[in-house]
Point group: D2
Chain length 337, copies 4
Amino acid sequence: MIVILKQNPNKNQVEHLKTWLESKNIKIHESVGDSHVILGLVGDTSQLDKDLISALDIVEDVKRVQEPYKKANRKFHDEDTVIKVGNTQIGGGTLTVIAGPCSIEGEEQMISVAKSVKEAGATILRGGAFKPRTSPYSFQGLGSEGIELLKLAKKETGLPIITEIMEISQLPLFDEVDIIQVGTRNMQNFNLLRELGRQNKPVMLKRGMSATYEEWLMSAEYVMASGNENIILCERGVRTFETYTRNTLDLAAIPVLKKLSHFPVIIDPSHATGKSSLVSPLAMAAVAGGADGVMIEVHNNPERAWCDGPQSLNPEAFGKMNKKLIALHEFMKTLDD
Amino acid sequence: MIVILKQNPNKNQVEHLKTWLESKNIKIHESVGDSHVILGLVGDTSQLDKDLISALDIVEDVKRVQEPYKKANRKFHDEDTVIKVGNTQIGGGTLTVIAGPCSIEGEEQMISVAKSVKEAGATILRGGAFKPRTSPYSFQGLGSEGIELLKLAKKETGLPIITEIMEISQLPLFDEVDIIQVGTRNMQNFNLLRELGRQNKPVMLKRGMSATYEEWLMSAEYVMASGNENIILCERGVRTFETYTRNTLDLAAIPVLKKLSHFPVIIDPSHATGKSSLVSPLAMAAVAGGADGVMIEVHNNPERAWCDGPQSLNPEAFGKMNKKLIALHEFMKTLDD
Amino acid sequence: MIVILKQNPNKNQVEHLKTWLESKNIKIHESVGDSHVILGLVGDTSQLDKDLISALDIVEDVKRVQEPYKKANRKFHDEDTVIKVGNTQIGGGTLTVIAGPCSIEGEEQMISVAKSVKEAGATILRGGAFKPRTSPYSFQGLGSEGIELLKLAKKETGLPIITEIMEISQLPLFDEVDIIQVGTRNMQNFNLLRELGRQNKPVMLKRGMSATYEEWLMSAEYVMASGNENIILCERGVRTFETYTRNTLDLAAIPVLKKLSHFPVIIDPSHATGKSSLVSPLAMAAVAGGADGVMIEVHNNPERAWCDGPQSLNPEAFGKMNKKLIALHEFMKTLDD
Amino acid sequence: MIVILKQNPNKNQVEHLKTWLESKNIKIHESVGDSHVILGLVGDTSQLDKDLISALDIVEDVKRVQEPYKKANRKFHDEDTVIKVGNTQIGGGTLTVIAGPCSIEGEEQMISVAKSVKEAGATILRGGAFKPRTSPYSFQGLGSEGIELLKLAKKETGLPIITEIMEISQLPLFDEVDIIQVGTRNMQNFNLLRELGRQNKPVMLKRGMSATYEEWLMSAEYVMASGNENIILCERGVRTFETYTRNTLDLAAIPVLKKLSHFPVIIDPSHATGKSSLVSPLAMAAVAGGADGVMIEVHNNPERAWCDGPQSLNPEAFGKMNKKLIALHEFMKTLDD
């Protein structure tokens, strides 16, 4: 950590700061410049609160040299996290394809989509039971009934299942769910994250709509800090000025997260763009860019979708795309690194 | 609602859509253009799901003519919402000044700040008990103990109190709290909003870091939809590319929200900018721009702040600023409208 | 074009508007809703100024049904634009790899990089002669001397060359340049665009740092409107809140631009991210996502780069990556569409 | 400047860097941390290229301690810049009100608006002759004829005039123009800035649509670096995700620019919001927030505006607002600082 002092700082206050830092076993290297004095802090600076030090009258700026996340950090946890669910795994060179309807609408729909995505090669089944909707008047999902239908689809197909949690109190309903999804609006619902860290199901953490990589990894750190290391990161687009697509998909997230952390990275082109015609090219881009997998919305009847229809593929389009994804993934393995 | 059909749409599907719309008592005005057919829908279109219709194969675009929020809408609720708490009110021409520490640290600090902000003319006392912190290793607030200290400060000063809730389960602790604050990260925590709509304490809803006005008002609609009409909106800056300030304070929100809705509008320049030297000019700007009040962080010892220190004023600076705010507010009343 | 009138509009003004529209051979379809009257305008609405109509007292909103660009529009120009330069082409199924130094520093550097990128399979040579630099005190490029060195490198390698223009008066220097690049800061330098439309060299138009797809295509329209149809679009990242990468590369631009327009699309991962370690995965993603090519910064000695060094690859890393890009491009052709 | 070295850097390269820095009369303070070595550079670091040093293999990050702008910097130029034009001045405690039509349409309109804004107390007359329009098919302004009309209006009213330049070659037409405006799209047209620095008319530099404060001040530095110190900064909103307003007006720019630099700051609420109903509250906010003035679009017949109509006030509304602005400005002077 580097502390840049203001010009002509109060000397007593500087001494006070140094004494306090030394009491925390921090060594201080002082550089006296023409205009500023700079303190280089050496030791376990992760215990120091950057905001606290920035607040001091004598301090102009504080800069971290090390990332504020530790357990999520590739530097301290070099091996890739690989997550096993059912007969498949996420990370470790496997291509994960999570597919299913945005919103679970009924038994026939759920089972029909589940069977068709399994046939097309999906490895994990998704379906929304609790839906975060902008309007209180929109359909909010089937709730626990939806989870029952998802579990039925799991039984029918053998695919592991993933669905979104919106509140701590819903946790008991997730007993047979294989992966718990945290949505973009809850990425910084810290109480929920902490609670999910106390149980041991894998957590797929979607990026907040305007979250930086660092904030995202700090949210993963919350889950890890309470004991759960099984985290998957899912990029789903960030909010920008562009309105043609719903969000702007940030595929740089793939190599960035791979470098900074050790988690599997899944890309969701369906929610990111909100347009089904963009899903396939961006899923291909994701796989070529090194993603561990994609999450794709599939609907058996887009014309009757209860929510988020424009971004759904039908099973046929999904099947066609998935063939290409699998072939591309195989091809990528043939390339030297 | 206007539905723009794709070029050369399937005629059966168009008939199917029309029949379905008519079954919902929607009248359809059809305009046949050179390139597109446009359907103008007349009737209670708030029951229609824009996403559902957009999803149809034959539809190019759907545009709402009316806002999707109703109870929050000035058009259907013309009179200004005025909220009474203790001996003061928010809205209705009163200047509300909410002041206090970002984070409650102990009895001495809380009582001391409370007394000094009261003396300086604050009308409502704030203090953070549950703190949403980016890092799991940062101080997370004193929790229920903090609320007790805030209640003590209320007793000492007679000021109504406001503090932030982070989770439904914390609600019982808020019994003697006068206003419940929903923070920027929870603006779309729909379960929490719905629950806060079921109780009757006023709710101050901070704008999400990247929320549009419409999304913000839809969140207010959630609270109103479950029965609670006592809502205050608080602008606290939005996330942009600028990094010098923590966020970009959007003062256009004041006249925009006044036009679109009927809620009191409070401005928080402390969190928006993260820099204490910017607080006073922006608080002045807010009052001149028509805000119902401001929320200001005040600290008795910025050098020992446990969080968010750089944006805090000390009591003396706060007092000086508040005098100006009050004078400006009085001056504004002398101007013709 | 759809015109939504305000509630209870002045009738005389409405008649006035209708008469004016009819005088322009626009037919009007009127839909009377519960709250609003909507006018559907039929005819050549591209001649109408949306802003002019929005300005009217009686108008609440105006929405275009058709895109405001015509010559750039896929709907009116269905075949893909393919641009021939030297012995290569851009678009039409060819993989274009533009490579070279960000900034031309001297003969030895330019020739050495040119030879090595040619050997590694680049199809077009780039090099910056006029450099748009944020600071007046930074190196601004070698100017006309740089262009001479680039021409020398063209002679040595046979590769077509591309370099950036910053001002109309520089145009005579571009006589032997094969493609003229318009940088992100000049995407809306309308005078320059118009002038580039009056000559016939291909123009590569980089996306403005915060330009929407529509604005970008309108800038292409400027060039086409003055007569030059040889336009290449280059996505180079947009400005967001994320600071880890220099910009956020928007790969959705590839399928979006392919759908809306007919131009070749080139991706520049070097400038977008500002980090050399991210270049290769994003270049791969671009090719799998359907881009016509990539633009890559290559430097023979990153340690002595005069500008933008952190994002440069050395020739060896470029060669390794380019092999993969070419293999991936070949592989993509084997997939059914 | 602080240079953070990578972990275990190549020692020869480190020595090479140090020798090179010392050859430039930079002193180096080395701090050896647990994980990183940090070099504190002391001396005239403004000559060093941050990008160059960042590019080195052994460097993890480089952080500037001092701002990269010098002449624009309050630290090196403490007194406020005050600009005299005609009988008025900008800065130094004067309230500047720049008013007039967005686009000059004809003699009658120009003279009529000029007279009415003068009567209402405007101090400077604006009018657009060269208009940067997104579409090549929109009205592009009357050009030199427009400047003639503006000069006529100056003769009639005695008000100094300001209008926008779009290209260096237009400069001779600006002989009798009092202030040259550089628009948002040209804020980083460095050739134009440099040229405007070589003449001595005041330059009003509008903020780029997505420019940081630092980039904006660097553009002012370009003008100053070629010799012209008469610069006015104009905040006109930045691009965000919000679509209800055209841009998001950033009033924090006022105190920030006053702190970092010495230039007068003008606020343009008309272009920022694109909505006439928001102009007055934001103009008031600007004056209370410490702005040196505002720029307001006024139109004698908003219904026939050729461009940007929705944001224009008519002379009556402008007059009413201007009275309030003047009264507020007088009131502000009565407050202690």
